[in-house]
């Protein structure tokens, strides 16, 4: 760990003014449950840490204009306890609850969950985002049991760790971002990206931008998630599936299936979506599960995740 300076501005403007436009020079601190670990592990060594704790107006949950808006620094515990979230987005409640640690749920924030860095153990042990040593990629021949089974053709083989992201994508949510000059909203589906170089991050955010909130359309879609978890709490899932769809006359429509923990980004399972639309749940669930697993390119030690994908998608659909 390197010594750093700490700032705790109380307005968004001041916070933005402190941020560097180069990743790693400054870091934003929300609940700190990931950032502090990252600093201790030397994943990042910022000169300045900018806390959002005192920044007003960044937390809270409101419904306005057909959307549910969730402030960036809303604690996971408040997300779980919110009645609107419980009513409209039960899958989000399940996802947050499954994190299974009172400490993390009490301290961690919604934006922090989306922006937490990959847990890849090569990344966390000093081998960089792509797991390199002496010019060699370590992951293919190494221990890749928790690595990606989709989207792993390039150097990035880690998985996106967020449990909230897949369902937000399935629900068509938008991420509100404030930069030094302008404000913008990015579709959750476009927010996550696979870095091509070590100096990029895993999302469409600039180093000097702050996520201010998330808006989820109150579309009335049924939604839910299923996570395959080895240990009950204090752990990330091995595989997760999020689903959202309309259902009328026993038929599924407007479906969306998004996988978590299988690729460097949340993974939209387009084939599963195609299979599901127009089907009954019973007929569609298994077919969608199998379709979701198609095209997987498992590494040497993680073919089991392909089987888990099939089950997770099916169970997510059945349980909604």
């Amino acid at each position: 760990m390197k010594t750093f300076e700490y700032a705790s501005p109380n307005s968004l403007k001041d916070a933005l003014g402190l941020l560097s436009d180069t990743w790693g020079e400054t870091e934003i601190l929300a609940g700190g449950t990931d950032l502090l670990t990252s600093i201790k592990q030397d994943v990042t060594a910022p000169r300045l840490v900018v806390s959002l704790k005192e920044v007003k107006g960044l937390s809270g949950i409101d419904s306005k204009g057909g959307n549910l808006s969730i402030g960036a620094t809303t604690k996971l515990k408040d997300l779980i306890a919110n009645e609107d979230v419980q009513k409209h987005f039960p899958g989000l409640v399940t996802a947050a609850k499954n994190i299974g640690s009172a400490q993390i749920i009490n301290a961690g924030t919604v934006a922090g969950d989306l922006l937490q860095r990959p847990r890849c153990w090569y990344f966390r042990n000093g081998f960089g985002l792509f797991g390199m040593a002496g010019g060699k990629e370590l992951v293919p021949d190494g221990d890749n049991r928790y690595h990606a089974i989709f989207g792993n053709g390039g150097k990035a083989k880690f998985v996106n760790p967020s449990s909230l992201a897949p369902l937000l994508i399935a629900l068509g949510a938008g991420i509100d971002v404030q930069g030094p000059k302008k404000e913008r909203s990015v579709k959750a589906a476009d927010f996550f990206s696979t870095p091509k170089t070590e100096s990029e991050r895993e999302y469409a955010l600039q180093a000097n931008e702050i996520v201010t909130g998330i808006s989820i359309p109150l579309s009335g879609k049924k939604n839910g998630i299923y996570e395959v978890r080895h240990r009950l709490g204090l752990d990330w899932p091995m595989v997760a599936a999020a689903v959202a769809f309309d259902e009328s006359g026993g038929r599924i429509r407007n479906a969306s299936v998004v996988l978590g923990h299988v690729a460097p980004t949340p993974w939209v399972a387009e084939r599963a979506t195609a299979v599901l639309n127009g089907q009954s749940r019973k007929a569609g669930a298994q077919a969608a599960g199998n379709a979701a697993a198609q095209g997987a390119t498992p590494l040497s030690k993680n073919a089991y995740k392909v089987s888990q994908v099939k089950v997770a998608v099916r169970r997510a659909i059945e349980a909604v």
């Binding site: 760990m1 390197k2 010594t3 299974g100 847990r119 153990w121 090569y122 966390r124 042990n125 000093g126 081998f127 040593a133 060699k136 370590l138 021949d141 190494g142 221990d143 049991r145 395959v228 978890r229 080895h230 240990r231 009950l232 709490g233 204090l234 752990d235 091995m238 030690k301 993680n302 089991y304 089987s307 888990q308 089950v311 997770a312």
Partner: protein, 721 residues
């Protein structure tokens, strides 16, 4: 005269009762000070730089930039015996240590040390027996024959079996992962050294520091009142103990040097892996006739010793074991609770359960049928009945492969185990003061197991007092010496020496009281807070009044194990039986614990509550290594990849299911004397849970931990799916 023997059952007030641990309140309120909590005035903080390569040599360690950092006070670079930079044999080996004004400065200074290496290629593979080196370890039983070679005889006995089952079983290297990491605080004062270590070896600790400090052992004062787990990894002073003491000497200031969590995982202790191909020959009626074990594994750079197989069933008429050691570039092996027994249990009990399954025989019936092949047939048979009843075996049991529809399959599995646990050498002193206060003193340690409480129980019961009326002083090497706490040897050792010393002290008191009560000392006893004539409580003195007869001079008497009069109050050799009840989701590969039953013989139970607590804790630790724990290393660089508590997984409360424990009590078990329970509590879980999973899904998952990937892989090759 009081006798130096355990009191008869009607004269045990605290012994065998449910006494709450005496240090419970100070621990839960945070008052108890661990080494980690020790804070001395003007103290420096030391941090260790570890090697990033797994094998090779250090060519240069340049500390100049670190030295220039404000707040850095001293730096020590590791040297080998010849004063050269040391060879590196694993990623995490100690390279240098910085002492600074704050932890943060020390950490940052580590980054400014420039290390040059000549790196070799690490050898990380412990699964391939062709990588073995050194002598083979071989043992044959029942293979002598006038006409046949041992090899031919082995062939013959297997040919004569009705069924031969073969299997492969294994378990990886795991670490000790002590909750309180290794380390110590050291302080030089007036030419002598004061140390607050986290240690399992209070009386012996100072010996490890004489060479590096140039002090004699009597000038080194050790204090460890509470410690947060060691499991066999905290016997020695270690390199960081030596370096901490040197830094204190060099700077003249107290130094705190505790390992970080990642260092605890990479350097502070590993349990060796073990893998084995096993062949079992059985008769159609289930009788085991032959066994062949080829086992290999790795203890890092230390030689792997073959686990004692066949385990428990040592009277199998014909067997051969072959052990081979593989050296790998991992941190050093240290004793891990019941060294080699969890491995032996997994290898043996899984192979036997597979043999039962091959015969289509119920597992419990099979183990019972062969119980005569153990050293403790009667004990195991009784324990199997108790365990079967507790888990509801008859209602739940089925042959291998749960045939009920749906993805969740349920199964039962069992294992039996053994351990020694005889008391170690221990000395102590008991003082009875004229005001009636009584104190027992001994240089032993309480690893969190309840040792302090047991010592107080013995002292109190001997003097006829309540536990809160006596005092125990321990955890300091100024006190009479006791051995290190390892191998379940503590409770037998300390209870014997304390019984001996307190009996001697009581007898001295009885001699004083005898004239006052007008009966010879032989006719007196201490009971219920009084000294009384045996059988005639009306002729008695309250304890305090009796002690008042001492006048100005307190009594101090010594005691020891072994006792001076040759009486034996401790014994070794116990058996235990465990049964696991699990559910397996055959679609996801997740194993869930439903119930776990641990039945144990421990000789004379000293404190039912803390003894049961050992069984509960052992079950949790065992469930953890059965389902989760595994040191994971990168094959290319040798780096430990899960040196954190996120991915070095330990079971949480939600993962352990319901645990039921049972101690075998009554004269038949308890008249044997005191036996330790620390190791027996944690030996069978890997085997029992692996057997339960096999019983549920109809196929063996060969390696621990029983993770979803391994379960799904096994199911892809067979079983109910």
């Amino acid at each position: 005269m009081a006798k130096n023997a355990w009191p008869s059952a009607d004269r045990r007030k605290n012994i065998g009762a449910r006494v709450s641990r005496l240090d419970g309140p100070v621990k839960v309120t945070g008052v108890a000070k661990y080494a980690y909590d020790v804070k001395r005035e003007n103290m420096l903080y030391a941090k260790i730089l570890q090697s990033s390569i797994a094998v090779g040599t250090l060519t240069e360690v340049d500390t100049s930039a670190a030295e220039k950092m404000p707040g850095v006070v001293a730096i020590i670079v590791q040297k080998d015996g010849q004063g050269n930079l040391p060879k590196i044999s694993y990623a995490g080996d100690m390279v240098a240590t910085v002492a600074a004004e704050t932890e943060e400065i020390a950490m940052e200074a580590l980054k400014r040390i420039k290390v040059s290496y000549e790196a070799g290629v690490p050898q990380m593979d412990d699964k391939d027996p062709s990588k073995a080196s050194g002598r083979d370890q071989k043992k044959d039983q029942g293979l002598d024959d006038d006409n046949l070679s041992a090899d031919e005889k082995l062939k013959q006995v297997f040919a004569a079996a009705d069924t031969v089952s073969e299997g492969y079983y294994g378990l990886p290297i795991i670490t000790h992962c002590s909750l309180e990491p290794h380390g110590q605080v050291t302080e030089f004062r007036e030419g002598e050294l004061y140390v607050w270590p986290s240690t399992q070896n209070v009386s012996g600790y100072a010996n490890g520091l004489t060479r590096s400090t140039g002090l004699s052992a009597d000038q080194i004062h050790v204090d460890c009142q509470y410690m947060g787990g060691g499991f066999g990894s905290k016997f020695s002073t270690d390199k960081w103990g030596e370096v901490g003491a040197q830094l204190s000497k060099q700077t003249g200031r107290p130094v705190k040097l505790m390992l970080e969590r990642d260092q605890e995982l990479t350097t502070a202790g590993h349990r060796p892996s073990a893998f084995a191909n096993v062949k079992v020959g059985v008769k159609a009626d289930g009788a085991i006739t032959a066994m062949e074990v080829h086992a290999w594994g790795s203890g890092g750079q230390r030689r792997f010793r073959i686990p004692p197989t066949p385990y428990v069933f040592t009277k199998i008429p014909h067997y051969r074991t072959l052990g081979q050691s593989i050296l790998t570039n991992r941190g050093l092996t240290r004793a891990w609770r019941g060294p080699n027994h969890p491995q032996a249990a997994l290898i043996t009990m899984s192979a036997l359960a597979d043999a039962a399954a091959a015969l289509g025989m119920d597992e419990l019936a099979f183990f019972k049928k062969n119980v005569g092949l153990t050293d403790r047939a009667e004990v195991y048979a009784e324990e199997m009945d108790v365990a079967a009843k507790l888990i509801g075996y008859r209602e739940k049991a089925h042959l291998r492969g749960d045939k009920t529809p749906g993805p969740i399959k349920r199964g039962l599995g069992m294992s039996i185990h053994t351990w020694g646990g005889k008391g170690h050498n221990s000395t102590c002193a008991v003082t009875i003061n004229p005001d009636g206060s009584a104190v027992g003193r001994m240089g032993t340690q309480d690893l969190g197991t309840g040792t302090r409480t047991v010592i107080a129980i013995v002292l109190a019961d001997t003097l006829g007092l309540n536990v809160d009326e006596v005092r125990v002083e321990m955890g300091s090497n100024a006190l009479p010496t006791s051995r290190a706490s390892g191998g379940s040897s503590t409770v037998g050792g300390v209870s014997t020496s304390m019984r001996d010393a307190s009996t001697n002290a009581l007898n001295t008191l009885l001699d004083k009281v005898a004239p006052e009560l007008g009966v010879p000392a032989e006719k007196l006893e201490a009971w219920g807070g009084r000294i009384q004539e045996v059988g005639k409580p009306s002729n008695s003195l309250a304890w305090k009044d009796a002690c008042g007869l001492l006048g100005a001079m307190a009594i101090t008497e010594q005691g020891a194990n072994p006792t001076s009069d040759g009486t034996n109050l401790t014994t070794g050799g116990v058996g235990g039986c465990n049964i696991a009840d699990v559910s397996v989701d055959i679609e996801t590969g997740i194993v869930t614990m439903n119930e776990y039953v641990s039945v144990q013989d421990v000789g004379l139970v000293m404190d039912e509550k803390t003894a049961e607590s050992q069984l509960y804790g052992g079950a949790i630790m065992g469930i953890t290594y059965a389902l989760f724990e595994e040191g994971i290393y990168d094959p290319t660089t040798g780096a430990m990849l899960n040196k954190d508590m996120e991915f070095y997984r330990l079971a949480g409360m939600g993962d352990i299911g319901t645990i039921k424990v049972h101690l075998m009590r009554g004269p038949k078990y308890e008249d044997r004397g005191v036996v330790g329970i620390g190791e027996p509590a944690v030996l069978s879980q890997g085997a029992a849970i692996s057997n339960a999973v096999a019983n549920a899904i109809g196929v063996r998952v060969p390696e621990l931990p029983l993770t979803p990937d391994r379960v799904l892989d096994a199911l892809s090759k067979g079983g109910v799916a």
